[in-house]
Symmetry: D2
């Protein structure tokens, strides 16, 4: 008799509601790569980078979760590619929830909300990979963990593929298999 289910590994994609076409294209590839490797893609559930990552996940046959700041649907939250919308009504406090469930966060672009999520991930000890996102330098008296910064999309995706494949704790088959 089974004694439990194996939880899905979760990749959080962080990024702004207003994003450039290039940022969205990268986010979509990140979401697709995660889903293809059997990971669930989690975002803040809104437009822009969040929508692109979710669309990538769904197109690759995966599962997209959105952790929403609002208490009920109010366009553009959730975006049309969120399969499991988790409404919190918690406003920006939900930024903390976005990162705690993730094994890895990938930030693509970003305004202040994304910066807060990068910081909250670092605080929680969740690794953060950045492409075209904030450049940050800690205070002189502090030496916290810092994000890993990728200069090229190709390098980001190559590393991501390696990382997703090597994470041995995931034994979940792809959803649509």
């Amino acid at each position: 008799m089974a004694t439990g289910a194996t939880p899905y590994p979760i990749l959080a994609v962080l990024g702004p509601a207003r994003a450039s076409a290039e940022e969205c294209a990268v986010a979509e590839r990140v979401g697709a790569a995660a889903a293809a490797a059997g990971w669930v893609v989690l975002t803040g559930g809104g437009p822009g980078v969040m929508e692109a990552a979710s669309r990538g996940a769904v197109a690759a046959g995966g599962l997209s979760v959105g952790i929403l700041p609002n208490a009920a649907a109010a366009p553009p939250y959730p975006n049309p590619w969120v399969m499991i919308p988790i409404f919190t009504g918690a406003g920006s406090a939900r930024n903390a929830f976005n990162v705690l469930s993730a094994r890895l966060c990938v930030a693509v672009g970003g305004g202040p909300g994304t910066l807060s999520e990068i910081a909250l991930a670092l605080k929680a000890g969740v690794p953060v990979w950045c492409w075209r996102s904030w450049r940050i330098e800690p205070s002189p008296d502090s030496s916290p963990p810092l994000p890993r910064v990728f200069a090229s999309v190709e390098e980001l995706l190559a590393e991501l593929h390696r990382h997703l494949a090597s994470d041995s704790t995931s034994n979940i088959e792809r959803l649509n298999d």
Copy 2:
């Protein structure tokens, strides 16, 4: 080209970490019924009623989400049947999140935490069905919506089957199909 994914309908099962064998058996049947109808089963992710409902969902080939009060795994949170653990670190504030995402809440047994979730669901306009849970009467000056109380398990499950089947907004196939 697709313009979006259809979100899963979500059933939240509310109930205590310390539950009787009978309460757990009922919660497991509720979780299984929801999963069999293509709904995602959402709980607070802990032991007792939450674990039983999640186990029922997984056994029926469905998907279980747990919205956890803690910021990282700390037994007995999440229970072994949570497939998508959402860590919040928000303590009892997460009780509000448990109900906002649900189309229907079913409360089985319950201590004060369950009562708070019943109340928060009523406040949010989410219907609540109760079996062996709190009996509540509002203040003389207030006439809020109240839970629907079921005296028998059979009646609860029969109504639940009807309700789950008739919810036409769900067109998602079962996960393992």
Copy 3:
């Protein structure tokens, strides 16, 4: 040299935004009694019972704190008698915060939001006194702490005066002394 400040004891007044004149009158007396005894009065910061309790506290020379569901002022939140508005943007999740800081909660009237606060206070082990509020009975399998129910205003206020005066941990002078 001083080694610290003594924290104010906090009384939370719980109750609905839409309240009867009698409920508001009672809440105002509760707020005034607390302030007169050197306690800070904490509410959800809105209209109705929350406003009346805050007004009572201010009129008695005390201090009123409001824990607001919104992220910024949006009438009727905060009400005009909140001296220290704490904006959370957390929606109904802030109901959990309203009770955790209190040594005693007094519920006057109430809809579902008040019920959730009563339940969250019971869960946190904070004593709750009720007047004209919810009548609740736990599930057959559970025996949680329950609120203390007062049938008469006079009895409520007499007990409150006794309780506020006997709480020896407060040595703060009234604010306007």
Copy 4:
């Protein structure tokens, strides 16, 4: 007859639990300056910079509020200089609440938690002044508001005095007058 109370203006002091002696000395002066001008000093309620700012406020005859991540007292939260402890149990989600209530945030030093608060303040449109804190540069596609960075303590305090005095919305007398 009075129609309301004037809310206190609130200064939030952001900074790490582990802080250098110099950072603490600066935070204490910031807290004292705010209190002397009739502002309430709000912090996350912990040790380090938070404690120093609270101590400065109390020593100057003012009021200190702490928004705590925990649900109940657990040393070193709250620090001994918090006069109004607001327990949230919300973990890092409380970082969002720390900044929403403030008219001005001053960050002194800082690890990832402080960075998240700086970011959340920028997102909410609350001005942030930094001394020895994070240096941040937004993504190439984004131009969010940025903190004001002070190189010298003297300049920070001079500007702070000017700002606190010129904020005409505060007509509250100092607490101990």
